[in-house]
């Protein structure tokens, strides 16, 4: 049994304690967003926030989340379910091609903005450097994060 808060709601799951957090989030808690890309903390596509810190959910067990606050894309939405500020900026910049990297990039960027609400472009690049994108959407994502910083 593992209990944690997911996007502000309590979840209580009957899963083995050594289960990978990513698979519990995806397949037991049905959280859409974090996705498998490498399974060894190399690409960032599985990134979620635990108590506000970006964590590669492919590389930790679900016990890392026990009793803590886990945030995925759904947790960044507005109360009415519409996209939150960073999500809106990503939409406005059309900051995706295939979009597979997007969920991880957004979570990583949100953690960055929470810590540093006014980042420079190079701080954004460095902050996202561990997130891989194969389609070449990097500069659009950087612009979206800077735009969100302005709007927040």
């Amino acid at each position: 049994m593992v209990a944690f808060r997911l996007n502000g709601e309590d979840v209580d799951l009957d899963v083995p304690n050594d289960s990978t957090l990513l698979y519990v989030l995806a397949f037991d808690a049905n959280a859409l967003g974090p996705k498998y890309g490498c399974g060894k903390s190399q690409c960032g596509s599985c990134t979620v926030l635990i108590d506000g810190d970006p964590v590669r959910s492919c590389d930790v067990t679900v016990s890392a989340a026990a009793g803590r606050q886990v945030t995925t894309l759904a947790g960044l939405r507005e109360a009415d379910g519409g996209p939150g500020p960073l999500q809106r900026a990503m939409i406005e910049e059309q900051a995706a091609q295939c979009g597979y990297c997007t969920a991880g990039a957004i979570m990583q960027a949100q953690a960055l903005l929470d810590r540093n609400p006014n980042p420079t472009e190079s701080e954004v690049r460095s902050g996202l450097n561990e997130i891989l994108c194969r389609c070449g959407s990097h500069n659009r994502i950087v612009r979206a994060v800077l735009r969100a910083a302005e709007e927040i």
Partner: protein, 746 residues
């Protein structure tokens, strides 16, 4: 909430139990249609095989319209473009459409979705069908309202007569109304009257992606889903001699261990359990392994020493005239490259009570792959049902088809349970079909001023296009079954005009007095290969545009000026000059270890063209190349959606810079060693330069498709800039720090 996606779910989940995809696209596609009058002639292929109107379009009593298409969404906006075509010619709002794409049972077979060339024809078929559906409905309305067809008008499916009397499509259609063959006789709306095609439509799938809504195959959660994994051999040519499966079978959650010949897989209740069981099997499996690969270090020599099929792709030597004052020659190398999609390939397969295996897949070629999977399973073609759902980015033929085949095999062991199978990063990296390694030899005879008189270009490459095309042997798992499917069918020719494949862009765009291009095609596949971004174009452009730079420097002429001297095409000249101007080429001041590089090409010699100018800094101590900034200039005909065009061009440049600076598939005599992102690194956020894109609009000119317009220009412009910065000529890719250091040491 994405309206189209929610509509789709409502409609087709009900009918077929699957998620359908309805996304948008760069409007750019719609431009193809606006200008491709010839498409109508071509449309008849798709129409001949799918002649019934209701195979494409159905009108529902609730005011929705089902649209069934055979092309699939790959992240370029194809499906939305089709929606625009249908909405335009039917005269209904795009929001009424409920779209089913790439479903082998319920959507018409339109072949593989690849390359922009096939799109105008595909649109053409839909254009004919939608126009004809509209005409049928107008005839019915004329009868019902008792007025001539010519007096009717249509607005969002509501038909109005001169007296104000109304009826609607959904009131008129019943039963078999649209169950009739297309005649091709209905009048077609002319492009001047378009209201939907050509509009700037933002991609409809983007909000859902950002918001965490169901978008990807990886987001599907069918009831009772279980998890599969496969255990690949240590290398391509290996035989499973022995495996003790009991330990794996006893693990918690394991439902089945599947062994068939050298195919080994497992199905478990949970993903962790499947991965765990696969690891246990990997440890106990005993393989007989063959070691006969050339190794990446020896690949260049290997390519040059194989028996090749030689053909001339251009054979126009000069006849007579002066002897060249001098000859120059060079040799370039491009290693194997990966697609390296960020998400590994995945599929969900279910064996139903009716014996039908249904597979959700992100394959580009659902129809052909369904046939190949049926062949592999030894069942009739109507026993395999493929449904396309969006996956990770697709830059050619990746492992989507293999994943569908693996999941289908695993599903046979657990009837009734949907089996989700997503490859591990290691499996994807080691088994995906790569872009072939290539050697390019160039030789030029020059006049007194250093201008080209004779140009000779020789291409050495293994195959590029190896899609399944219905052949089970081209699906990885089928090669290891007992008995194996081993007739892979390596093509015995390398592709001809106008697209070529190994020789794509081997013909330079310049006007050389003598011009000979020879293809040395090596029909062997030491490493698995297939269509990867640009096929041979990346390497051919890299070589051609590097060599032009060498010739310019040798002649003491500015490289941009040197290109212009040899370029007659006005649009190409404009494109070259636009990039140079925006970059500030003429006023460039490099400074220590900094340099500028230039390259240009027109993709396939007839599609869109791009020039690149960029600046690099080379650190002589550690050999690192930093791209400081880049400018692209592109001419893709009339611009319909500048944002979509720019997205594709910039994405292409970044991916190609990554190939150029970092990427090479490493392998020894036995196995591929590039098995994760540490052993096959790609460009990161810190390494991506700021990029300015100049788009040259050509109103009235056909839209040319832009996904691959910028490929080898990236490689050549970097290598040329490195030469300008530190005076060393880099001819072998990738331009890694150690190679640069070696070159600097001389």
């Amino acid at each position: 909430m994405n309206k189209m996606l929610s509509l789709s779910r409502r409609g087709f989940l009900k009918k077929t139990g699957c998620l359908t995809v309805a996304f948008s696209l760069p409007l750019s596609m719609s431009a193809d249609l606006a200008f491709a009058e010839d498409a109508l002639a071509d449309a008849h292929g798709d129409l001949r095989s799918n002649p019934m109107l209701d195979a494409w379009i159905r009108i529902n009593a609730d005011g929705t319209v089902d649209l069934m298409i055979g092309k699939v969404e790959l992240g370029q906006g194809i499906v939305t473009a089709f929606a625009q075509v249908a909405a335009e010619h039917l005269d209904v709002d795009i929001a009424r459409l409920d779209i089913l794409s790439g479903d082998t049972f319920y959507a018409p077979d339109q072949g593989t979705t690849a390359g922009s060339n096939s799109m105008p024809a595909a649109y053409g078929a839909l254009r004919v069908v939608a126009s004809e559906v509209r005409a049928v409905l107008l005839d019915l309305a004329a009868d019902e309202l008792g007025v001539p067809v010519d007096d009717l008008s249509v607005e969002d499916g509501t038909i109005t007569g001169p007296n104000g009397a109304e009826t609607t499509y959904w009131d008129l259609v019943e039963g078999e109304t649209l169950h009739r063959e297309a005649t091709g006789q209905a009048p077609l709306k002319s492009p001047e009257d378009f209201r939907v095609i050509g509009q700037r439509v933002p991609r409809l799938d983007i909000p859902g992606m950002m918001n965490g809504e169901t978008t990807f195959l990886q987001d599907l959660r069918p009831e009772g889903m279980v998890f599969g994994q496969v255990v690949r051999p240590p290398t391509y040519r290996a035989r499973l001699a022995n495996v003790e499966t009991a330990a794996a079978e006893a693990l918690p959650g394991v439902m089945a261990v599947i062994r068939n010949g050298s195919f080994l897989g497992v199905v478990a209740e949970r993903q962790d359990q499947a991965l765990n069981a696969a690891n246990v099997l990997r440890q106990v499996a005993e393989w007989e392994v063959e070691s006969n690969l050339p190794g990446n270090e020896n690949m260049k020599e290997w390519l040059l020493s194989q028996e090749a099929i030689v053909s001339k792709k251009k054979d126009e030597p000069r006849s007579g005239g002066p002897e060249p004052a001098k000859w120059m020659e060079a040799e370039y190398y491009r290693p194997y490259h990966m697609h390296g999609s960020l998400g590994t390939s995945a599929a969900i397969a279910t064996l139903g009570d009716d014996g039908v295996t249904t597979v959700q897949t992100h394959s580009q070629s659902v129809y052909a792959t369904a046939r190949a999977i049926a062949g592999m399973l030894g069942v009739e073609e109507d026993q395999v049902h493929l449904q396309h759902v969006q996956g990770s980015g697709c830059y050619g033929h990746n492992m989507a088809d293999d994943a569908a085949a693996d999941a289908a095999l695993l599903a046979q062991a657990v009837p009734g349970r949907p089996v989700f199978m997503q490859y591990t990063r290691e499996d994807e990296h080691r088994w995906e079909p790569y872009g072939s390694a290539m050697v390019l030899k160039t030789r030029a005879g020059l006049d007194e001023d250093g201008n080209v008189l004779d140009w000779e270009f020789d291409v050495y490459s293994t195959p590029h296009g190896m899609r399944p095309g219905g052949n089970p042997a081209r699906l990885i798992p089928a090669q290891y079954l007992d008995p194996p499917f081993d007739e892979i069918g390596i093509p015995q020719q390398s592709g001809g005009p106008p697209n070529y494949n190994t020789a794509r862009n081997a013909i330079a765009d310049y006007a050389f007095p003598g011009h000979v291009v020879t293809d040395h095609y090596v029909p062997q596949i030491p490493l698995r290969v297939s269509s990867t971004r640009g096929l041979g174009a990346f390497a051919n452009i890299f070589a051609c545009e590097s060599f032009m730079d060498e010739l310019a420097h040798d002649a003491g002429v500015d490289p941009v000026e040197y290109r212009l001297r040899h370029m007659e095409d006005e649009r190409a000249r404009d494109c070259i000059m636009a990039a140079a101007e925006r970059f500030g080429w003429d006023s460039f001041e490099g400074g220590r270890n900094r340099g500028r590089g230039f390259a240009f090409a027109r993709y396939k010699n007839y599609a869109a063209m791009s020039a690149v100018a960029l600046e690099v800094e080379v650190n002589p101590r550690n050999g690192r190349i930093r791209v400081i900034r880049a400018v692209t200039a592109s001419d893709a005909g009339e611009i319909v959606n500048p944002d979509g065009l720019e997205n594709q061009i910039e994405g292409g440049l970044i991916q190609m810079l990554s190939w150029t600076l970092k990427e090479e598939v490493r392998f020894d005599d036995t196995r591929v060693m590039s098995d994760d992102w540490a052993s096959y690194p790609i460009l990161t956020f810190n390494e991506v330069p700021p990029i300015e894109n100049v788009l040259i609009n050509r109103p009235g000119e056909p839209y040319l498709g832009a996904g691959e317009t910028l490929v080898g220009q990236a490689g050549a412009s970097v290598a040329n800039a490195v030469f300008d910065a530190v005076g060393v000529r880099m001819r072998d890719l990738p331009l890694t720090p150690s190679r640069v250091q070696d070159a600097l040491r001389g």
